[in-house]
């Protein structure tokens, strides 16, 4: 994984000291909150419902055990013993004290981490496939490109005062595990007929109050020209963006208003200008960065056999373990969705255990996923049983990847100032309702995603079943949406009809699932059945 060089470290360290001084001035009353707010947001510090909240970036979701132990230490020392993994490969702490925030950032800097660009109108933490560098189905490791873009855009003047936040994802497999087209700009590495690597480029996606799925604006961009192209996209947006209305500033609105064709035309025009300026990276720079992502020293000649005599272990293997590119290795998914738990929450002790296991079994690598789970990307098949036993002892061997209880849920009204309704209790009640393992396996892949307001942090637009919390005359109310996808078959979920109260929404989900079981044909997932039969049969089941 990428390691800071002296410049990176000096920049991050300097930033910590700058923020320390800003906090000191705020506490001394030299600056007021209006002046301080943009400064703290530049360092990922929000003021939330109960306290300050700190969002820490995990670039492209990759981190190591030293970093994970530091995250555990922060949880224990400065917070209340836990952290919360989000849908954009960040971790959040909910109970931060302003006076201690600079110390936390200093602790993070000591392990090459920071909270820069986890908030505000910036290029946010770049997300990637959590299986990058390990997946059997990828063309190459997408992370060197993500890292290159991260380095080129962080602190770049043109990208420091964007009209609004800007989210980028990079993948290199046909299976989309990063909700690609729900990003402002998305890159999928492909090969052209000559076998050269380049990008399929998408632009203008995003959720929130006005959801759009990104358009493909380029079939093939030579990889070496990526920075010119990205600058062109951002330049067109920067030039035209509505800055008069916060709800219309995201790039997706511009792409939509200009139209796909016109947006593409303008980007291509700017692209020529940037190409002529020669601001793209030299190959040596790519090579320098790519060297940090060389595959770990996989052993040759390992057996692919797994002893499945323990049925609980076999169940876990079937659901949580996926194919690795190296023979004898596997990718192990760790669920942070125990039934009745809070999706994405993890205790300091569990973080430390995962750190130990990564060190022992996964070449010291850990990944955070957009579905609020964790991954150990490089586990020898022969070690899976021991890994599973250790996870099981810590309550981390839940079997539910992509099943009905693997629910994405934003913090909702339990933690978030913007929320209209609570999300977590709804997730908990649905998971409890469907806790039975046989029933979950019978239902098969079913991705439920819950947000506590229209901002869509819980990805409800991409939920096969989506749930949106709304305020109905001062009480919590929940709308049910169907048919969304954040995978390679991206689609936007549709609202079914009037909303429900908390108990009602759980029943409505169950009626939806039961109707699917009546209607499905052999081998069909929920989403396939929905696409075949449409909304009406489900509406009828839900509303009678």
């Amino acid at each position: 994984m990428y390691q800071y060089d002296q410049y990176d470290q000096a920049m991050v360290d300097a930033r910590v000291e700058e923020f320390r001084d800003q906090v000191r001035r705020r506490l001394a009353g030299d600056i007021n909150d209006d002046q301080f707010k943009p400064l703290r947001l530049k360092n990922g510090l929000y003021l939330q419902l109960h306290a300050y909240m700190l969002r820490v970036a995990i670039p492209y979701g990759t981190f190591n055990s030293r970093q994970m132990r530091k995250l555990a230490h922060i949880a224990r020392t400065y917070d209340r013993g836990y952290g919360h993994f989000t849908t954009r490969q960040n971790i959040q702490y909910n109970w931060i004290k302003l006076e201690e925030a600079p110390d936390i950032l200093a602790e993070l800097a000591s392990v090459e981490m920071h909270a820069i660009q986890t908030s505000g109108e910036s290029i946010r933490n770049i997300s990637a496939d959590q299986y990058a560098g390990a997946a059997a189905d990828e063309i190459c490791d997408p992370r060197p490109w993500a890292e290159l873009i991260r380095q080129a855009t962080t602190f770049h003047p043109e990208f420091s005062y964007l009209p609004r936040k800007f989210k980028i994802a990079v993948i290199s497999a046909a299976e989309d595990r990063a909700a690609l087209r729900w990003h402002d700009c998305a890159l999928r590495i492909v090969r052209n007929e000559a076998g050269e690597e380049g990008f399929e480029v998408y632009a203008g996606g995003g959720m929130g109050r006005t959801p759009f799925i990104a358009y493909k604006i380029r079939d093939f961009l030579p990889a070496a020209q990526i920075f010119s192209y990205l600058q062109a996209i951002l330049r067109v947006w920067n030039l035209h963006a509505r800055r008069d209305n916060i709800h219309k500033q995201r790039m997706k609105i511009l792409v939509h208003e200009l139209g796909e064709e016109e947006f593409r035309r303008q980007v291509e025009e700017e692209f020529q200008t940037f190409l002529a300026l020669g601001t793209d990276f030299p190959q040596a720079e790519y090579d320098r960065i790519a060297a940090y992502f060389t595959p770990p020293p996989f052993e040759a000649g390992l057996s692919d056999d797994i002893d499945r005599s323990d049925p609980d272990f076999a169940l876990w293997v079937d659901r949580q373990v996926v194919a690795h590119k190296a023979p004898g290795y596997a990718i192990a998914n760790i669920s942070l969705k125990p039934v009745g738990g809070i999706p994405g929450d993890i205790s300091a002790e569990q973080m430390e255990l995962v750190a130990d296991l990564a060190e022992r079994y996964s070449f010291d690598e850990i990944r955070a996923t957009h579905a609020q789970n964790l991954v150990l990307p490089h586990v020898r098949k022969a070690d899976l049983y021991a890994l599973w036993q250790a996870l099981d002892a810590a309550g981390l061997a839940n079997v539910n990847l992509d099943l009905v209880t693997d629910i994405i849920a934003c913090p909702g009204l339990d933690y978030c100032t913007l929320a209209n309704a609570r999300s977590i209790p709804v997730a908990q009640k649905i998971a409890e309702r469907f806790a039975n393992m046989e029933r979950q396996l019978d239902i098969g892949e079913l991705k439920i995603k819950i947000s506590g307001c229209i901002n869509a942090c819980g990805h409800h637009h991409a939920g096969q079943i989506g749930i949106l919390g709304v305020d109905r005359k001062g009480t919590e109310n929940y709308q049910l949406l169907l048919g969304g996808s954040g995978a390679e078959d991206t689609s936007q979920a549709k609202i079914t009809g009037p909303g429900f109260d908390e108990a009602g929404i759980v029943d409505a989900v169950e009626r939806t699932v039961e109707r699917y079981r009546e209607l499905r044909e052999p081998g069909e997932r929920f989403l396939d059945t929905y696409r075949r039969v449409g909304l009406d049969p489900f509406k009828e089941a839900i509303y009678g």
């Binding site: 003021l47 109960h50 300050y52 302003l98 908990q428």
Partner: protein
């Protein structure tokens, strides 16, 4: 009645105006009537509160109860983690906000 809330500048903790000072407990909140804005301006200036605002509430036997669920959750803590609330010993405390 109208009560005042905000977050303590240093710790971020949710606090309520008692008429003289700030308390962690909504039970201590004082009715500020028409004076909310003035108190907030003074307290903001004195750096004792961050993001202060006025909340409609009703007086009950247990003390002031904010009209909006959001402020009741702020007064208690997350309903999904009784151990992190101001009433950790009472697992049913979350019912108070509904």
């Amino acid at each position: 009645m109208r009560i005042l809330t905000g977050n303590d500048l240093k710790s971020g903790a949710v606090i309520w105006w008692t008429g003289r000072d700030w308390s962690l407990h909504v039970e201590d909140a004082a009715d500020v009537g028409e004076h909310g804005e003035a108190v907030l301006a003074a307290e903001d200036g004195a750096r004792r509160v961050n993001g202060g605002y006025i909340v409609d509430a009703e007086q009950t036997a247990e003390g002031p109860r904010p009209a909006h669920i959001k402020d009741r959750i702020r007064a208690l803590g997350p309903t999904v983690r009784p151990d992190l609330t101001l009433k950790p010993a009472d697992p049913t405390a979350g019912d108070w906000v509904i």
